[in-house]
Symmetry: C2
């Protein structure tokens, strides 16, 4: 992996990553040279026992780009610089201009509940220079690089003592609110272990204490033995519709043997995860022969300095559709009670995905 | 409150409620006479430590009603009976034909995770016979009746030893997935205390143990003293944008003095809550001069037989809009991490709602 660290004119960080050497003369650009002055804060939600982030710093900008302007494409018209420079590289990571969390946060307002500066980081990860690509269309060694990039970000962000948890995710499709179609994801780095990973780590920790092995590792072994919901499997990685799917087309991807974070993946595990990732996203897009929207989140061990033998790096995909023309809305029982009601059986949805044929030239399934 | 219990031809229960005596000759109807054979089951989600409900019993029906057919209106064409009979009554409650939870659930499938019959109840609550009405347009004594109906359902469902928690809610608007515009809500009765209420009761319980008073009661006193985010207040009820709002236009409604459930409301508290409920929903609809979508959920004490001095009946409204033309999508940080990021300050959104003028003939604000 080659990389090149840069500073944007507005003070934000940019790092380019590539499978090939990067020209050291590439310089950072930004749509605006005004310094970023985001100052989000956290408020304590006493009833839920969790933090809520407030970022009300989005100011009107005079920036008026041409209609074809894509802020995540390499800059082609120097009058309207994008977020990324021209030049050869595969993946780029930069600070979000409108972060909900930033290490620069300071002086939170006083309130009737506890407040804190919203320390942390919000990064944008541009997966490729090709605006028409998707994770499924990228080459396997490009996906392998992306897994290394997520590892590099986890390591760098996690080294900051204020950051306790690093979550890479991708929101994909207008159905999940994404209007920018250039392939990209985000990374949120939190100053605490957020509620959902905290709850999963709690369950994993209890299981580990009792059995001296991983809860997800155990579930994966049971999924393999049950052999009903597996979408992809090779010597080191697996993808499956989990037996307890909350979304009809939910899929999880994991290394079969637990690793705590992206940083701990072996080259073989990374290469196998790349194949699993490509297979799942190709099958999603192949299901209805159109781009398939989803939220993809990668859960890993906290970066709190403690050992986390209970953690097991894995991705969870939450697609918003329940059939080709019906969305699954989260409503009363899901949002207010926290109990998901799924009108599809995971076994049936797994069969649909299993039946999607993808070219073996694209992914060598051996 | 007058009420009249009936049994539908397909075996489902129906109960009519009214401010006036109900004709005892009214008989129940149903769109279909086939017995309901729903058999949902629960699966344990080991990583999240929660139950997921699976209800895959929706079968294709041959029923082909006319285009103007509204299943929640009183039956006008006997060839196409709706869910409700003709006659004078205000509110009707019946068993959902496609329940995610039912006391009739039996023989759950074996699986690699623990499974259970999805015991419980899913009820539909039709708020009025008028398909054009909304909570804001109903008379105050009609809303008072609705609060009594929620109390009656809480008592009746809660008496069943298999039911631990009763959650009335309303999903309103196509934006939250509702295609049936006749004013109605739902009640889910769970065989366990679901994760979100459980977490809130845990926080409330800790506070109560330390302070011998309620956590929400304490927050309400602080909201009153801070006097920035209050939308409605009278001698017994209050509505406010909570200081820790997760949704831009989130509003909570509560009796100022805690009561555990709807059954414990005094007549004065009920009457004041009706005014608060009418005011909030009128202000919502007045904000952009169009029907305002939301999820409204009423949280109360569990029906597990234990005393719950920490509980405090209240409603939380989660509207999906962040501005008049932009939805707030729940994505990576909300759904995967559980940390909400709100780009509006609760103080600002409260000001917008405070500024909406509603006719004082509609609600006496004294």
């Amino acid at each position: 992996m080659y990389s090149h660290k840069l500073l944007k004119p507005d003070g934000r960080h940019l790092k380019l990553y590539s499978r090939y050497p990067i020209d050291s003369k590439i310089a950072a650009v930004s749509p605006s040279n005004e310094p970023v002055q985001a100052n989000p804060h956290l408020r304590w939600h006493p009833l839920r026992g969790e933090w809520v982030a407030y970022a009300s710093h989005r100011q009107a900008r005079t920036f008026m780009p041409p209609p074809e302007y894509n802020p995540l494409a390499p800059t082609s018209n120097p009058t309207f610089p994008t977020e990324l420079p021209n030049g050869r590289y595969d993946v780029a990571v930069f600070d979000n201009r409108f972060p909900s969390l930033t290490l620069a946060a300071h002086n939170p307002p006083q309130s009737i509940v506890e407040t804190l500066p919203a320390h942390g980081a919000c990064e944008v990860v541009v997966f490729t220079q090709d605006p028409q690509a998707s994770l499924g269309s990228l080459e396997l060694d490009h996906l392998d690089l992306l897994l290394q990039v997520w590892g590099d970000r986890t390591r760098i962000l996690g080294e900051n003592s204020q950051i306790q948890y690093v979550l890479p995710f991708e929101n994909k499709g207008v159905e999940v609110g994404v209007t920018l179609h250039h392939p990209h994801g985000q990374i949120y780095a939190y100053p605490f272990i957020p509620p959902v990973p905290a709850q999963m780590l709690e369950m994993q920790g209890r299981f580990y204490a009792e059995h001296q092995r991983g809860l997800l590792q155990d579930l994966i072994q049971k999924e393999i033995a049950d052999n009903q919901r597996i979408i992809y499997q090779d010597e080191a990685a697996i993808a499956f519709v989990p037996v307890c799917a909350r979304y009809p087309y939910e899929v999880w991807i994991a290394p079969i043997q637990p690793v705590a974070t992206f940083c701990d993946l072996s080259a073989v595990q990374r290469s196998c995860l790349a194949k699993a990732l490509k297979t799942v996203t190709l099958k999603y897009d192949g299901l209805w022969q159109r781009p398939f929207p989803y939220l993809m989140a990668w859960f890993q061990a906290p970066t709190d300095g403690a050992a986390h033998p209970e953690a097991h790096l894995h991705a969870q995909f939450y697609p918003p559709y329940r059939t080709s023309d019906r969305l699954k809305y989260l409503a009363g029982t899901e949002l207010a009670a926290g109990m998901f009601a799924n009108d599809a059986l995971p076994e049936e949805k797994a069969k649909e995905l299993q039946a999607v044929v993808i070219s073996s030239e694209l992914v060598d399934m051996t």
